[in-house]
Symmetry: C2
Amino acid sequence: MSASPPGTGPRVVALCGGVGGARLADGLAAALTADALTLIVNTGDDFEHWGLRVAPDLDTVMYTLAGLAPVERGWGLEGETFHAHAAMARLGAPAWFHLGDTDLATHLVRTEALRQGATLSEVTERLRRALGVAVRLLPMADGPRPTTVLSEGRTLSFQDWLVLERGAPPVDALRFGGSPDPAPGVLDALEAADLVVLAPSNPYVSIDPILALSGVQAALERRPVVAVSPIVSGRAVKGPLAEMIPRLASEPASAGAIRRHYGPLLDAVVVEAGDEGQVTDLPVLGTRTVMGDRSDRARLARELLAFATRTVCRW
Amino acid sequence: MSASPPGTGPRVVALCGGVGGARLADGLAAALTADALTLIVNTGDDFEHWGLRVAPDLDTVMYTLAGLAPVERGWGLEGETFHAHAAMARLGAPAWFHLGDTDLATHLVRTEALRQGATLSEVTERLRRALGVAVRLLPMADGPRPTTVLSEGRTLSFQDWLVLERGAPPVDALRFGGSPDPAPGVLDALEAADLVVLAPSNPYVSIDPILALSGVQAALERRPVVAVSPIVSGRAVKGPLAEMIPRLASEPASAGAIRRHYGPLLDAVVVEAGDEGQVTDLPVLGTRTVMGDRSDRARLARELLAFATRTVCRW
């Protein structure tokens, strides 16, 4: 099948959360022309800090594609300083979430633009262009859709759970607040996609908030969808996912659990080499999915695109 | 005369603008016990930048008394970095006003507190305590009172005039917007003062906005008032004051012009050594008024207090 008009290349849409999603997005951006790729990014973990609107996943994706993200640390900017943070702590402000000095500019611009009436989509477009990011970067929604964590009778805001409490409280359920429409362009991009990639982000807190938006799941059911497993040899590359799966899905953490989580939406799966046997009912590509530098991300993206071409796409 | 209850020392109130006022305030804080000094600071140049509420004079006074201000530069913090500023410029935000990374924390805390419903007085109290400033620091008013500059048919906001246009447009008149009450404590402090000091700040843009608040001038008429001339040998120590006086007062810039500007409010004047002859109708102290380091500021403050004791105060 092909949704591309004649004369254009294949169109790829990737659904992304934070660092794993950002790195695969960076690889896809290197492997495709800019107009062939659209990134749809989770905003369920957006929150307000120091009076500023912080969008961690959007910024991680944006900084990564701008070449400004650290290769090691999963957030913020390479070479970042934290002088404002230290001063905030001295003034008694909450210091559990680190906003670097350069990063602060992004939140200041976003906050002010939103106050002036811009949408999150509009300010995201402005920010990514200013940072030289060539591909389309769409927040999943312009309206608020805060993810909350239910843990042993407590309800925690997402960042309180992940950062303040270091993801330690066991997750009994997740709630996605609000009922915003998908942001402008999201459904159109999905409808026009020759391939949809579910990036190796946490399915529960990064991908599900996007899938749960009105019309997204229905659009995906009509497109070829390939997921990259964020579980490698039974472990999460980063974050508390490996502890969440047994509690939320009643099975051990594995690439197979990821495949079952997405159910009939998926047409193919990319897993870490050695994990291929965990997916028996769909085309599966085993390769090195733990991404390092930019060339390694591009390598994975090219392998994924070639695999999708062989198995589920026609373009 | 004495407004001090028995057993307490003399009470001094200083009206201050930016750097000159901040340095004399720093000297007074060294020369007096903390409970004997109240600083009332101009807020006419407060403005919003990057969505943040910036109070340049309050912050200059606060940083100077906290020992955090540079000895040379008249604004900001010693050893300050400007990484957020550089990032703001990259994102297309206005970059003509420099907010340093550490300074940003002050504006973030202030802005957020004001949004949460705190008054400027309340957040100023919180900030000065967090920075270890022991003396009372009162904004002149909690409500907005923006100074605007009328120049050759144009109306400029104060910071546009001073910083963006570098104080170059000739000043035909000044307007003080709004009609807020003096902040809580301002009139009480003035009523209880054994001495009021008009710091060597620009009279037109730093001191007059305070004097023009309802009740302030009347309170000063009942107290001994000593001004320190910001004009030294016909020149302003800093800023465009020397160009403003001929245009606004139709006389050359001089310590005498400062004395005449304040008119019957004044009881005595401190001027630069050599300028004593310019004030003939009041007690005058000639000394070194251009302040350097903290000990030099304390030296001037002690000389001023001794002079006031000899001439206009009884305590």
